[in-house]
Amino acid sequence: MTGRLQIGAIRSSFAPWEDPLLKPLVRFEAVSKRFGETAAVSEVSLAIYEGEFFALLGPSGCGKTTLMRMLAGFETPDAGRILLDGEDIAPLPPHRRPVHMMFQSYALFPHLTVAQNVAFGLKQRGDPKAEIDARVDEMLGLVKLAGLGRRRPDQLSGGQRQRVALARAIAPSPRILLLDEPLAALDRKLREETRVELMALQQTLGMTFVIVTHDQDEAMVLADRIAVMRDGEVAQVGRPAEIYEAPADRYVAGFVGDVNLFEARLDSVDGGRVRLASPEGRFEADDDDPPEVGATAWLAVRPEKMRLTVEPPPEGPNRLSGRISDIGYLGDWTTYGVEIAPGRVIRAARANAARRVEAPLGWDDQVWLAFAPDAAVVLKR
């Protein structure tokens, strides 16, 4: 496809939310929940589709866990409805819901073996013993724990316990698998491996996964769509690339990834091109749905979209100059802080594409920053 540009670097044919005829598997309708004085969840409406990997992302206390616990049945909404396959699930107690949860603490039964843990849900359902045994073996194979069925949870490593919890939750083939911060307790290397495995598992099973996480990387990598939450409300729902490249507001822009924000006044709109003015300089950005002329707006530019040069860029908008105040070498990337005015630091990042550099940058170097109009997003709030 040429001409019209797409958001994000990934082409995916899986987008059930774009099909107006498709009924969502789960629908939250203006769901609210209070705990005493605090509103944990207020007026949340969401649709989650069959086969989707959906992430609820937000800082602690944003209501994401409460939302998940309402879906599992451990909390009841004060207002609004939760529909599963079009039916209100309010009358169903947790043990009658076809929704299983992988707990953050894993909540493995310490008095049962690994195999008995995995068999627990199947036993409650009253499956025949031979079937249970076969399914348990299958599940343990799936999470690469074959042969460990007779161990007890306290004889396993953290990563193995995490897999048992996963196997236990998926063994009875729930309609929806809820994952409450599933990777939070693992160290970084294991977390990255497990992420990949989770994705593969979800693909294999075709099961609907809903994950609650405060880790934006985790949500970005795993999810088909992310709901970014703030103070009990959904700030934005969208594909990871939409959340990152077209954030709805400053909160989303700042929560997912690093961002440089410039408060500016909208000077003029010319086609899709918006011109803004601020004490820090003149800016131009592409925007199909700009705010009114004269309104205050915020220009958001990601660090990796800043071009950092020693030579001044051509005269024009979207350029800033300053002094390098900090450098962070991450191996694959180097991040720079450029002080453009006392106390005002703009972040820029460069991929370390070459092993050897002719003129490396150093602290206190005078440098220029520039960005393309297409690299900036105009935020109304």
Binding site: P93, H95, F103, S105, A107, H111, Q124, R168
Partner: protein, 294 residues
Amino acid sequence: MKPERAALAAVAPYLWLLAFFAVPFLLVAKLSLSDSVLAMPPYAPQIDLSRGADGVRAFLAALDLETYLRLVRDHLYLDAYLSSLRLAATGTVILLLIGYPIAYGITRCAPGPRQALLMAVILPFWTSFLIRIYAWIAILKPQGLLNAALGALGLEPVNLLNTEAAVILGLVYAYLPFMVLPLYAVLTRQDESLIEAAQDLGASPTRAFWTVTVPLSLPGVAAGALLCFIPMAGEFVIPDLLGGSETLMLGKVIWIEFFANRDWPAASAVAIVLLVTLLVPIMLLERAPPKVLR
């Protein structure tokens, strides 16, 4: 901590056990192997240290198992053992049946009422144990509070005082906190998410209780049962005050042998046998704990 101090800290419990358990135990064991005599002290032989090693040898030669043989031959002692163990076992079962729901109920309460209820469990300790047992006499005696209440309801009076039922009632009343507190301790530590996980996987709240809560609370059940069973088996005051002459418990037998019959060896032998009977099951439990207790 310096190494010497650490070593001292490790040795201290053993010194304590030596001084307050092993030495008294050996004294009582020695006493049980002696003979009863009409003298002061009322037992023989005595060690004559003035004769040196010969004295010790003569003393050891005079010790025998005669008292123990008497315990076996006289069915009174065996009956007292069996009735003590039976009453203690009955009491323990009733305590479990009452104590478990109480402990479970307290853990389910909001923090405010929970503290109040725990206080209510502990509060009776602040009154003298004897006074509380005497109070039961006032309640259970033929013209007591119980029969007054039954009469007011137009029911037949019951005569409980000086029966085995009164002893069990007294035991259950007196030992309830020792059952409730260890149970509360394990139940309150239980991870709430385990119950949620069980329900999430399709177990009804009742099933989740029986498949998760109860098995995980077994260490508390064992602790509470031992904490109640052992002292109840040797209990003296409650059967003495609330039980009749036909309720024979070991505590009373020891008292009678010691004070009424002045037969110190017999009293010691009864005590030693009781100790061994109670220690053996505990040691077995320690050595081969069921998997759930780990």
